[in-house]
Amino acid sequence: MTVTLGTTPTAVVAATLVTDPPAPARRRRGRPRPGLLAAGTYLILLVVAAVVPALLAPGDPLAADPRAALTAPGAAHWLGTDQLGRDVWTRVVHGAGHSLTIGLAATAIAVTGGVLLGLLAGLAHRFADEALSRSFDALSAFPLLLLALLLITVAGPGTASLIVAIGIATLPHHARVVRAQTLLVRRAGYVEQAVSFGLSRPRLVLRHVLPNVIGPVPVLAVIGLGEAILAAAGLSFLGLGPQPPSPEWGAMLSEGRNYLQVAWWMTVLPGAAVTATVVALTVVGRHWQARFDGRQH
């Protein structure tokens, strides 16, 4: 792993956490991987659910049928209904879009901000670097949940706050990885060589530093997306997420837990959707990462 070295142990962590996901038993190339296949299929279905939910669940996720409230899974509603008689399957499918959007938007904030600030810190002079690095530290001094709570106190609950909170909370992590990577690339032999070809500094950065720094970023983003979705579910669970009646998974979970004793399906199914999504993203991300690492060395 060459992408992970940082100057402080904290930076190393950040890196180990994401750029070095445990890749148990390096496997043979070409051997079919049922896990990867399943994860990929699931993600494709997820994207379909997010883009054209009607394809998988033609109903209206908000259509309430009070008379059919809390129906157990069966022929009519094969994942049951919730307390207002809304179809759980339809809601889970339509929720995919909400959850993915939140995850993607938060990750976009984190990755864009992280890459920009990380690059800046990595390329800047010592003092600017120090100041930026300390501000990453200060930001990560707020646990995600606390940061989200703080932000929600400021901006009020809702999808936007949720996205910004998760984005900002995960930003320092990306920034640190990018900074470490920038420092590494900056000192790499090929950058030094490029100086001796007579390349100007901006060209050097654009041609050699930037591309090599952002190489691993998409991988980070995929794994980060899983984390963001998980974090969003947690915050929604505390009632800090999207407003009802949005079928966001975390919000569904939060609602469902009040009915756990009488309608387990309201909790377990959205929960399974969250878990499966995060697992699938992690599996795909790690696989990609392993390929990437293989290419780097």
Partner: protein, 544 residues
């Protein structure tokens, strides 16, 4: 009496992601008590795997097969882990490759050395510390008591290697296996280690010494095995093997060793020999003539270069000139400041004092902008070519990057690749899929692309096997002749410098202790340091 170690038809295969690797294919040899047997061969020939197999540590996924594998009269083929544990350290001690990282960095040297004693309950807990100090003393570690309490990173490479040997001999094994114990060490240290190993023989232990460097083992080994592709291609008493090598590969290996005697001649492609017909002497074909050196026409002029890192002055008042077409060798131990000088000269590092003039223009102390137009005239080749390529680039792009853009750029790249002996099929390959020699050739192609007047070569062959090193050195010799390029050639290998350079600069602790024509400096060294470097240099006693 049966030999200490008897191996017959040993096969080791690995299941790897790319298929089955046959690392060792039918190796047979013996090591007797008090005997020193050396195994030589290029990288990947299966030396280390053989060594590890002898202590039951062939590696993950290894399959070992042998007609005979006897260690001190015991058949170890069916040994289970528990049985192996009793062999390791006690019957057979292994000095593993990579001495610099073979000691646990988080534990003290003493704890590492003492581990064998604890694992086999050789001495009680209380006497252990004393025994460790004794062992360290035995391998000539100065101040053993203090060193035992230190961590590996606080020890120099040579000391670490000695500590490692101490840990391998702590259990007084009958057989000591040393896997490349001197690679990555300075010549002076290397000589000490070899002497140390030879001492073990006196105690009656058998010694299996592994190296890729024939010259190194020639001094201590009784017998030599030459390995290639997992097979032993030739074995015999050291003297005979060096004097009258039977196998073409052995001959090639011997011919590839650069030295004073090889000056002006090719190292690779030894004179064609017909099988069966013994050729007692190695013949080398001559290289094209050296470019004409005009001593007063300086390409580079460095005056009073000084560079400090914090409180340490790593380069102190270094002055030299490189004339057009001249090859200036720069030698010195590790850490003596060679690379720092290269970087100062290349304008990648600012000097604290001193000036550099390149092509009659001020080169140091000016903004990068002013240097830029002349940049192309000064090129750089370093030890790790892979690290000097943008990991995203193909071979073609790597070379093209140093060429002016133009419609015929691809043709020019192909021509350059052809000059360094690489085919057009490599154009779209990634450097990481090339061999070490090929990579260094790509780096050379890139360096000669803008027709520079000076190329700085910072240890360009140190990471290469002798035979590949030979090819690269030959290539440099050819190109130099054809283009009249001056070289600043850095190496810690005196042989290489002697082979290639016109003049030499000896560096010690950042200070130039001696400089002059290679012949003069190496034949009549005036400075003690130069002398000790030369004394330690292992030389092959072969006819030239």
């Amino acid at each position: 009496m049966a030999p200490l170690l008897a191996v017959e038809d040993l096969h080791v295969t690995f299941d790897s992601p790319t298929g089955v690797v046959e690392a060792v294919r039918g190796v047979s040899f013996t090591v007797g008590a008090g005997e020193c047997v050396a195994v030589v061969g290029e990288s990947g020939s299966g030396k280390s795997v053989t060594a590890r197999t002898l202590v039951g540590l062939a590696g993950a996924g290894a399959r070992v097969r042998a007609a005979r594998l006897d260690l001190a009269d015991r058949d170890v083929r069916s040994y289970r882990p528990r049985d192996w544990r009793r062999v390791r350290g006690r019957l057979a001690g292994l000095v593993t490759q990579d001495a610099l990282v073979a000691l646990d960095p988080l534990r003290t040297v003493g704890a590492e050395v003492g581990e064998v004693l604890a694992a086999h309950d050789i001495v009680g807990r209380r006497e252990r510390a004393g025994r460790v100090v004794h062992l360290l003393d035995e391998v000539h570690v100065p101040e053993p008591g203090r060193r035992a309490r230190q961590y590996p990173h606080q020890l120099s490479g040579g000391l670490r290697q000695r500590a490692l040997i101490a840990s391998a001999i702590a259990g007084e094994p009958a057989l000591l296996i040393a896997d490349e114990p001197t690679t990555a060490l300075d010549v002076t240290v290397q000589a000490q280690i070899l002497r140390l190993l030879a001492e073990r023989r006196a105690t009656g232990a058998g010694l299996l010494l592994i190296s890729h460097d024939l010259a190194v083992v020639a001094q201590v080994a009784d017998r030599v095995l030459v390995m290639r592709d997992g097979r032993i291609v030739e074995q015999g008493p050291t003297g005979r093997l060096l004097r009258a090598p039977q196998h073409p590969y052995t001959r090639q290996l011997l011919a590839a060793v650069p030295s004073a005697s090889s000056r002006g001649r090719r190292l690779g492609e030894p004179a064609q020999v017909r099988d069966g017909c013994a050729v007692p002497v190695l013949r080398r074909t001559p290289l094209p003539a050296r470019p004409v050196v005009r001593p007063d026409d300086a390409v580079l002029d460095a005056v009073g270069l000084t560079r400090r890192y914090g409180p340490h002055t790593v380069v102190r008042d270094v002055s030299f000139r490189v004339a057009r077409g001249e090859t200036l060798g720069l030698v010195g131990e590790s850490g003596s400041g060679k690379s720092t000088i290269a970087r100062l000269v290349a304008g990648l590092l600012a000097a604290d004092a001193g000036t550099v003039t390149f092509e009659s223009a001020r080169w140091s102390g000016v903004p990068e902008r002013t240097r830029r137009p002349l940049r192309r005239r000064l090129q750089l080749i370093c030890q790790d070519p892979l690290g000097s390529f943008d990991p995203r680039y193909t071979v073609g792009r790597v070379v093209a990057e140093n060429l002016d853009p133009g419609p015929d750029r691809t043709d020019r790249v192909l021509a350059l690749l052809h000059r360094v002996g690489l085919g057009p099929d490599l154009l779209h390959r990634h450097p990481r899929s090339l061999s070490g020699g090929q990579r260094q050739r790509v780096a050379i192609a890139r360096a000669i692309a803008p027709r520079p007047s000076l190329i700085i070569c910072d240890e360009p062959v140190s990471a290469l096997d002798v035979s590949i090193q030979a090819q690269v050195l030959d290539l440099l010799g050819e190109l130099r002749a054809a283009d009249g390029t001056a070289l600043l050639f850095i190496s810690h290998d005196l042989g290489v410098v002697h082979h290639l350079a016109d003049r030499v600069l000896v560096l010690h602790d950042g200070v130039v202790v001696e400089q002059g024509p290679v012949g003069d400096v190496f034949s009549y060294p005036r400075h003690d340091h130069t002398r000790s470097l030369l004394d330690a240099l292992p030389t092959l006693v072969t006819a030239g």
